[in-house]
Symmetry: D2
Subunit: 418 residues, 4 copies
């Protein structure tokens, strides 16, 4: 690992907890260069909902590349982009009655968020964006200003402004009614809260500790937005694309955001890709007013199209049903582990196939992940104190694979809590 340590910046992070050099990958497994297999409950931080190198996507990708189809096209029209747009319309938007315009803002989640914030500010003529405690939206300055993590905010080197954090669902343990403060601030012209352009929210805060908003809270938030003419942006970068069951994580709540950000698992194969969706009325962009070199990466259009078709196998209900079943399996297993350690584990967190265990003593979570790594299971921690062991298995993980991983977790927890 010499070259990594001598040449790569100190900013590198995951490699520090997982001292292996990975080489191959397939389905739910990663393999290091010595051939050791690791069960992957990390899945590229939620980027690999279909597992590694899914054969259907791989086939389409190889064929596309082998046949000298265009790879890089910025925002020129291409056949691959047309197929993606049609498929997205047919599989995702139309069945849900969603009327969204699609922007290709660049290849990363943070660029999708930057585009969303710019558009919201331009459309409303206002500056302030309301974000939530423990939100994570990205590392470029616009997205970082609505991200909660203090260490990451400090990396900006300048004060981050034009944003205000509000308490996420259950942030105060039910000791105050939802949106009581937020609405009071909005209603009161003397509150000091300048009229916000938009609210940006994750339905489940992946990086923030697997905090899952209830459908009621999300509906309440949508109401507040409507009453106060603020746009509602759902950052579905990590929780979209089926992670919680339905394609969008906000479907269960029955809300329709004004703007939606998608990335991570959208390409289905780990290829950099992101979109920003918004109601047609909001499409006030000038041509080229936001751009980016990699906003037309055709291989991602190809795998994304294949991924959508696969996901939609049985009219959109196959994967969704299966994911919900797997979620149930995970929830029960984690519940058992938590019940066995009522003092050390404060609860099961999350929703869908984004669940985890919250530890009373933050260091325990890191130690559990280290024990799991020794047992060849990859998992990361999340939360402001890294106090939550976070499971993001591929949606395609089999029931047996899940059991295998859950057993490793149980024994890792036991090993740490003895």
């Amino acid at each position: 690992m010499d070259v990594f340590e001598s040449l790569e910046s100190e900013v590198r992070s995951y490699c520090r907890g997982w001292p292996a050099v990975f080489q191959k990958a397939s389905g739910s497994r990663l393999y290091d260069e010595e051939g050791n297999a690791f069960l992957d409950f990390f899945a590229g931080a939620g980027t690999l909902n279909y597992g590694h190198n899914h054969p259907l996507l791989k086939e389409k990708l190889l064929a596309y590349l082998a046949d000298d189809n265009v790879v890089h096209s910025l925002d020129m029209y291409t056949v691959a982009k047309r197929r993606f747009l049609e498929t997205f319309q047919n599989v995702v938007l139309a069945p849900r009655g969603l009327d969204y315009r699609v922007q290709f803002p660049g290849p990363a989640g943070t660029t999708a968020v930057e585009a969303a914030l710019k558009l919201a500010r331009k459309y409303t003529g206002r500056e302030t964006i309301v974000s939530f405690t423990n939100a994570f939206h990205g590392m470029s300055l616009g997205a970082l200003a609505v991200t909660g993590n203090g260490m990451k905010r400090g990396g900006a080197g300048i004060p981050l402004g034009h944003s205000v954090p509000m308490p996420f669902d259950n942030y105060l343990d039910g000791r105050t009614p939802d949106f009581l403060l937020f609405e009071r601030l909005l209603d009161d012209s003397g509150s000091g809260l300048d009229a916000p352009a938009a609210v940006i929210v994750e339905t489940v805060q992946g990086e923030g500790g697997l905090n899952a908003a209830t459908p009621e809270w999300l509906r309440g938030l949508a109401d507040v937005c409507r009453r106060h003419e603020m746009l509602l942006i759902v950052d579905d970068v990590q929780m979209g694309c089926g992670r919680t069951g339905p394609f969008f994580s906000f479907e269960q709540a029955g809300i329709v955001p004004d703007i939606v950000c998608l990335s991570k698992s959208l390409s289905g194969y780990g290829l950099p890709f992101a979109v920003t969706l918004f109601r047609p009325e909001l499409d006030v962009w000038e041509p080229g007013e936001h751009n980016g070199t990699f906003r037309g990466f055709n291989p991602a259009f190809v795998t994304a199209t294949a991924a959508l078709e696969f996901w939609d196998g049985e009219g959109g209900k196959g994967m969704e049903k299966e994911t919900l079943a797997r979620s149930e399996q995970v929830e029960q297993a984690l519940g058992k582990i938590a019940a066995a350690h009522p003092e050390a584990i404060s609860g099961v967190r999350g929703r869908g196939l984004a669940q985890g265990l919250a530890f009373t003593e933050p260091a325990a979570a890191t130690r559990v992940c280290a024990e799991a790594f020794d047992r060849r299971l990859l998992m990361e921690t999340s939360g402001p104190e890294s106090e939550v062991v976070k499971l993001l298995p591929p949606l395609t993980a089999t029931s047996d694979e899940l059991d295998e991983g859950l057993d490793i977790i149980a024994s890792s927890v036991d090993a740490v809590l003895v």
Copy 2:
């Protein structure tokens, strides 16, 4: 094209000037779905220095993907990343005596710039970044604040701060000595210019109108930075990777920036990829202080490695020599065209294989590109008024291909200027 017009955001731009649906691509040619071939003097805005689907890179990419190697790995260690780092060290850094740490900041040029600005501010404890007139560094808020284009800045929807524009080389037509104002402002504690953390510069401003800084000016800038303890950041996203001849565009000037941003042609195949390079002393990042989902996209490591090896074919001098020869060919041909229209064309701009024609009447440049499109040549305009016809042919374009395109340009200019 219905689906594009009904579904894709109004922000789309290149497709408006090039009403075709592209499908295949190879070398210097793009093909639309009807089989029409277009000579590509745009090359993905400088992303495709090796042309479309270069066979050597394609072979490596297909093999890597076919063999189920890991695709997406964030900042875990992988075999593909190790090979890239070693190759980058051996081909790029070591021969030039450069001691840089490598950060993988995310997949886009704008993320490389964001990382550079954050690090400069963190390292120096200062906020202000000095940028230059007509600079282009990206669309996320940090990068946008150091970008000159007024329309794009306006898209932010909030005032952009913590940055100050200075005149680029020859901005005032030689009517004032270089850096006279800048140094006076820096020397004078009452000037109102807060001590800058860094200066960010492109050696040739691609989007800004192909303004090429002279080696003397760049050396002068490096001196100013050293004397005033400002970091020097070269954004080599578009002009690096051999576009002007040598690997880095600043080599001819003999300067060593503190921080360098690379992206676009780094992967060599249009795959989203970017790095931020900096002197080891500057590596004050905390682990994970800057992150991003697509900072470990292994197929890009693979094609980038192959591209570096190809570029370095004859010890780094093969491609460089050839690029300089091709540049000479382009310069002469453009010079002839300009000489034929002394009133309409104010001069040949740029350097290396980033050259163009500046038109007195901005609209003429757009009309020339439209005429060229009709003749099956792709070129874009640049400059604040879109007044420059900009040639970015692949570095691998043959002499004949260049002649073919230059002839089309000549006839397009004639058609417009009659």
Copy 3:
């Protein structure tokens, strides 16, 4: 009034509700140029705690001016300034065991606040200031950023930053525990609230609607500040100098702020004057780092000295006791009026001689003040909707004068609410 309307800016305000041209003033009365006497329950928005032209102060002021003593001295040493400092030390600081340094930051409350915020930021090296809903701290950009009023904030013409509003005492009608959210945000490194330099608070929000913080809440706030190493700034510009009984409005709560701002009634005679007080450890100013032309206005030193001596008549307890007695008188009378109109009047607000009536229907408050003006009583409204009739009589108003005014209020209310 022609010259006012043709020459003075539209920004003029009080004159619109009080269409008279005032000429003379004495004690609790103002006289217009036609000789009409008005009872003054406005007292220069709390600037005239000793009434108009108090004879003791007037005598000292006239003698000082007549004898050619120095008037304007910036921060040179003068005999008048020395006497003020000694008196302030002996009458105010020493008896209360307060160890404060005195800064003369300029002649207005807003300059005292600007100095306080700068010092807090410089001392802590942090940027964020926490302010409260419906706070009012001044109109210059630093003070305006911590002021709540939306119309006034909008006047800045730029986004106001580096500040966050928190709910003032009882802002949510007791439906959430005090400081629950604030402390959670401070404790949580992922909350998105950057560590604040300081909290700025008024103990009674005069402009914000006569919202009075309880002693418990203020003590709680001081505790939060101590636990989280934030400086506590009390803006006592309107409520200090005896307005609520004791010299400082925070004395009843038993807290000791790190920084205190005083102005308005400090000179006792309407002369522009302000001080910023802070613990000696905080005195990290460089000489001249904050300055201002009118920071040494000696006539104000003279009247302020005389005012302090008068206020302290019986060892600091004379005026305090009297003010509390008068407050009681006002509270009872207002309570009666409120009780007579339980639906139209939502309650008696405020504390000390800063009390008022809150109306359910905001327009009623303005109409009551208009009726009172017709009856020759001057009172203004306050609160975000101008929904509170606000009484700020001179502390020297006699019991009879108070009764006279309270009777007018009662009849004005009756006239409006019929």
Copy 4:
């Protein structure tokens, strides 16, 4: 001086160079408590154009106060304010054909500047203000952001934004044409300079080192503003009220600013007072959108009225002519001193009765002032390195008094430069 040192903040400044306790003052003299007389070439930093305690003003002030006229009235209408407005109209505005609205923004120069900047931003809907190198406009955050001094800017504790410094007249010693850069930046939509709301300028930079703009440069600036639809704000706080001869310092250049700030000598007696003047079209203020406790300090109206009448003695030409004669006297004497020390003194700076000597070695200027103080002459230094000895004698100083002071300066310079 114990109480000063133990109780007053370290921010105190002038007292450090002038270790005396002042008590009385008359005309051009200040007296310390031991009766020592000091000739005052400082005049309250330009606040005392009529000297100390001018008998005509004093008489009016004493009469006003003695007769129980109203002192403090916010923006209520008063007899004293009406007389001031009428006199200002008759003496200042009408004879010069100026059509300005008058705002009373608070008692200090910095509040006049804050009001000007807010109004310019509100009126234009833009944020950026262009200021000049070595400008000084005040210490509150809005004014500080357009002030050049690095130490004072640093006191803000937050980055200062929404402003850009441009080179003042002759900043680059004639090595570049006036406004060449500024206009190029404005003309170029890609320059990175966001369209400014306004330009703020002092015609002579008092704090910045007595840099006097030529009439040509000021006219050029007014042209640039007109062509680019930026408002022109002249901050005449120190140089207005006759300091350079005519009432406004910009009259000689023949320009008509959109907004003018006045304070310092406006009251004529050292009483805190300021106005912001602007063209009627700009008067887009909402009532009360900008306010301030001391915006109606009637004694200042009274002395300001008397001062204007005195200044205008012979139809506005008496004082102006005399000031120009005195300026000539000062210029010649300073020229002689400079000529005697060609290496140590780089030149005579300034205009009108704001002139000074610039020293090659900054420390010499401070030593000259110290020597002068020992010889009982008060003068301060100015400029970013305190390298300029600055003379601001009262406009009422007699020719003999000027000679007396100039002789002291000559001998102080000799003492320092031996």
